[in-house]
């Protein structure tokens, strides 16, 4: 059985509850950092027909595929989702919009080109919006598509966000099952930047099968490899999402999410190496069994430091962190390299 088949089998076993298709999958506000500093953000997860790659199996850790609509949403449904989402931004003076589709915003099978135009036009028309970020797989980041977006967003910056995950083609293929190569990311990044967009790269800390140290070093290496093609890094910490292959293995005690000490180490090392690069990480689910975690006592404090660093880019955030469990993490770093196929669990 191939990895993709294994992922697909699990997908097929999930029961997804139907939900209204004129409401976005999720919307929330938050803060992010752009070149000019901290800024309010609104994140919209569009409910589309879904990620083409996810429908064919998809990534081992991705549970977002279940956010897609059961029926194909009409153009008006999609616009209604936008409208409902934007209500949350009513209090903002100046903000950034982050668009996700649980797939690719630039895939016209998910967002028809007319809808794309209507969305971007509407956002461009709102003067409070200074930047629009849209996530997409790299195969859709063509010269044509970037130009198309930039041309609509006359007064608004445009950022293309891609889930590179890792610069290792071996890991991306055999652990994540992501279905593209580092080269395709590079091509996409160049296409974006040469046509007026900036690039944000999402990385994935600790995909399946890797030891804690391998995972850690892989991200450090990835930052080195991808730095010249990206404007911002956002490092995702693998968490165990429902209906994923990661969950399947986690349930069977064959996976442990990353330690927060690992991301702290990564942020410290990469920021020192690339002081001008914006490198962020949002420790979603930190401290829970399914999320990245240290011990019970320090997880929340460490996660807060990571969030603060992500906004301030100030390494002093990490200065006073310490906990007895750091010693354990150091052991895990050393020993998990030699467990030959079983994780070190808590």
């Amino acid at each position: 059985m191939s990895l993709n088949k294994a992922v697909l089998d699990i997908r097929n076993r999930q029961r997804v509850k139907p939900s209204p298709i004129d409401v976005p999958a999720a919307t929330w506000t938050g803060k992010d950092v752009i070149e000019s500093g901290e800024i309010d953000t609104i994140t919209i997860i569009f409910k589309t027909s879904g990620c083409w790659w996810g429908k064919a199996g998809g990534c081992t850790m991705c549970g977002y595929v279940y956010d897609s609509a059961q029926d194909v949403p009409s153009d008006d449904d999609l616009m209604a989702q936008l409208e409902k989402a934007m209500r949350k931004a009513s209090d903002f003076d100046r903000f950034m919009v982050k668009i996700f589709t649980s797939g690719s915003f630039l895939d016209t099978k998910e967002i028809p080109i007319e809808v794309r135009h209507r969305i971007l036009e509407e956002l461009d028309g709102d003067e409070r919006i200074v930047k629009v970020l849209a996530e997409t797989r790299p195969e859709f980041v063509t010269e044509e598509n970037v130009k198309d977006c930039v041309s609509v967003l006359k007064n608004t910056d445009f950022e293309v966000a891609m889930g590179l995950e890792t610069s290792s083609d071996v890991i991306r293929k055999q652990s994540i099952n992501k279905g593209f190569t580092f080269q395709s990311f590079v091509d996409a990044a160049i296409a974006a930047r040469e046509n007026g967009a900036t690039v944000k790269s999402y990385l994935m800390l600790k995909p399946l099968f890797l030891s804690e140290k391998e995972a850690l070093e892989d991200i450090v290496q990835t930052v080195r490899d991808a730095a010249e093609y990206t404007d911002t890094f956002s490092i995702n910490l693998c968490n165990v999402q429902r209906g994923t292959y990661v969950e399947y293995l986690w349930d069977r005690k064959q996976y442990r999410p990353p330690w927060l000490w690992s991301i702290v180490d990564i942020l410290q090392r990469t920021k020192k190496e690339f002081p001008d690069m914006i490198i962020t990480s949002d420790p979603v689910g930190a401290g829970s069994k399914r999320g990245p975690h240290n011990c019970r006592e320090c997880s929340h404090a460490v996660a807060d430091a990571i969030r603060l660093f992500s906004l301030t880019q100030d390494l002093s955030c990490f200065e006073h962190l310490s906990c007895g469990c750091k010693d354990l993490w150091e052991q895990v770093l050393e020993l998990e390299d030699h467990t030959f196929g079983s994780p070190i669990l808590d």
Partner: protein
């Protein structure tokens, strides 16, 4: 090529072995996980292939390690591990990639079921750490592994050993472990013992006197900072594991690991399950069990009755044994003293029988062995077991013993059956008699040894004595025949104790001669036969228990690489016949037949007599 590992001693599937590396390493061995990353170590992890984009890079990395380490370090070839529930053919593909590595010197590799197995010195059970608490899966993976790889290859189960499970894992035939879990527990404030684990918090004192624990006390330990505490706990945990490993090695040397396991497995339900499930893999277990041993088989629990030695004894009675010609069967209870006929009670029974004894065939009922015909009372384990006696036989015991008796009475017919038994023994006789619809005459009157009971036995049997009777010499021959059949298979008795042969030597040191040529001798210690070259020649035609060798004349001991073929029925300590173009020989097997064929190191047979063929 297993040039760097050798199995030296066996106790069932468990074994004492030796790695011949830059340092000699004795197995079962707990390697220090941390040393795996150090190229100076005798055993080195070649590292993960996840980090290499290309095969060449990895191969180059391996070359570098080998250069630093030298030929006499064992390198586990670079590997790209997945966890056990990863798709099997992805795993195999990755394993094949790893197996493509080129290297000289001592090597280890990851075992993947279904993969082409090479001749590495060590195989790693991938993802072993995930099988904790999952007895069924662990055992099936291990058995698959054992079936595929050569028997003289070491098996390494990483990230699973803790003091409490070590003995069981070694019992199953694993040779190498590591201290990962012991270290991690130490850094998690978990205190490991062979009797289970404790959170340091929950302790009121340190239940150990190891060097680490003697260096401190609980209060000081609790007062330390985490890191210093972890150093001591780690040391204790490793001490506990090392001590257990040493104990188990001693148990293997003494041949008493099973007895230890029967207690130790109660520490955790999954370990008990492992023992029970392993017992139910009779072919696997039996094939590794010595045919006879010189230590006592101690049966203290329900599972003792499932031991391969006991089941094998019962099966051989069912499949290989032919009773002497007799019309009267006398069923007797067992005795604490072995062989039974040397016990006080049996001495009384025999006295009571007097001259009538020539007419009866005696079969002893016993738990957990089932039934023991008098002829086989010397034969391991009939004269070699000890058991907890409280007078109560549980239902499982009763069913097992009754099933043995039932099988026997179904196969063999007598004119009369007398049972001089009480209590559970009688219950069993009655169960079987009712089931088979046969009559049994009971002669005991409340106490088998009372003068009244003995008198009744005497009277009852003498009144029945009208059928065939056996001479004293015939009785001796019957014994020798029964042992021959037991040991070499049905029909062997007729070959080794032929018509016209004579018996010499006092009981139990009987010898069988044909004219002046001796064929066999009974070894009282094991109740088995030793065979002469003459005996071997006589038996050769049957082809059983024979080891074929090439055209050389072996001396002292026959090494595994010299074995061309071997009867798969051969068990450790079996008497075997060695034959080749240049020589015929007899000796004691040191390993089973399958292992002889598949091993390239180790002593296969200790020879006793060798005769050149001119």
């Amino acid at each position: 090529m297993t040039r760097y590992f050798e199995v030296q001693q066996r106790d069932g599937a468990a074994r004492i072995g030796k790695f011949l590396l830059k340092e000699d390493i004795r197995t079962p061995y707990i390697l220090d996980t941390r040393s795996l990353g150090n190229p100076e170590s005798p055993i080195i992890d070649g590292g993960s292939l996840w980090k290499y984009s290309g095969f060449e890079e990895a191969q180059e990395h391996l070359r570098e390690i080998r250069q630093k380490a030298g030929e006499d370090a064992l390198i586990i070839l670079p590997h790209q591990d997945l966890t056990p529930e990863a798709p099997r053919n992805v795993t195999i593909k990755l394993a094949e990639k790893a197996e493509g590595m080129e290297d000289s010197g001592a090597t280890g590799a990851i075992y993947i079921a279904g993969q082409q197995v090479k001749e590495h010195d060590l195989y790693v059970m991938e993802g072993a750490g995930c099988f904790e608490n999952n007895a069924r899966t662990f055992l099936s993976v291990l058995l698959e592994m054992k079936k595929d790889i050569a028997p003289d290859t070491a098996i390494y189960a990483p990230n699973i050993a803790i003091p409490e499970n070590l003995a069981m894992l070694i019992y199953l035939g694993i040779d190498v472990f590591d201290n990962t879990k012991a270290i991690i527990a130490g850094h998690n404030d978990i205190y490991l013992t062979t009797a289970g684990q404790f959170y340091l918090d929950s302790l009121a004192e340190l239940p150990c006197r190891c060097s680490a624990c003697s260096s401190t006390d609980l209060t000081s330990l609790r007062g330390m900072d985490k890191k210093s505490r972890a150093v001591i706990l780690e040391k204790h945990n490793i001490n506990a594991m090392e001590a257990e490993a040493a104990l188990v090695r001693e148990r293997i040397r003494a041949g008493t690991l099973r007895e230890y396991i029967e207690g130790q497995c109660r520490v955790h339900t999954w370990l008990t399950a492992l023992m029970r499930l392993t017992d139910s893999e009779y072919d696997f277990v039996e094939s590794q069990n010595a045919i006879a041993r010189n230590n006592t088989l101690v049966a203290t629990c329900g599972e003792s009755q499932n031991r391969a030695e006991i089941v094998r004894f019962a099966k051989r009675i069912q499949e290989r044994y032919t009773p002497p010609e007799s019309d009267i069967l006398l069923l007797l209870p067992c005795s604490a003293r072995k062989p039974y006929s040397t016990s006080n009670s049996h001495w009384k029974f025999i006295n009571a029988l007097g001259k009538s004894r020539k007419f009866v065939h005696e079969v002893i009922i016993t738990s957990p062995l089932g039934i023991v015909p008098r002829e086989l009372e010397l034969t391991y384990p009939a004269a070699h077991y000890d058991t907890t006696v409280t007078g109560y036989w549980d239902a499982e015991e009763r069913e097992w013993v009754a099933s043995c008796l039932e099988d026997y009475l179904t196969k063999h017919k007598y004119t009369s059956i007398v049972a001089h038994v009480e209590d559970a023994y009688r219950v069993i006789c009655e169960m079987v008699a009712e089931k088979l619809g046969i009559d049994i005459i009971y002669t005991s009157l409340g106490n088998v040894s009372s003068p009244e009971s003995l008198k009744n036995l005497s009277k009852t049997v003498s009144e029945l004595c009208t059928g065939r009777k056996r001479s004293h010499e015939q009785t001796q021959k019957d014994l020798m025949k029964a042992v021959a059949d037991y040991q070499f298979g049905k029909g062997s008795g007729d070959i080794l104790v032929p018509q016209g042969s004579t018996v010499k030597g006092p009981f139990p040191k009987h010898q069988i001669f044909v004219g002046k040529k001796q064929l066999i001798t009974l070894i009282p210690q094991y109740g088995t036969l030793a065979i002469t070259i003459e005996g071997a020649k006589a038996l050769l035609g049957k082809g059983r228990y024979t080891v074929k060798i090439d055209d050389f004349v072996p001396r002292g001991s026959l090494l595994a690489p010299g074995v061309v073929d071997a009867d798969p029925l051969i068990r450790p300590n079996d008497e075997v016949i060695i034959c080749g173009e240049k020589a015929i020989a007899v000796g004691r097997a040191n390993m089973n037949g399958d292992e002889m064929k598949r091993s390239i190191r180790g002593v296969a047979v200790d020879l006793r007599h060798v005769k050149k063929i001119e």
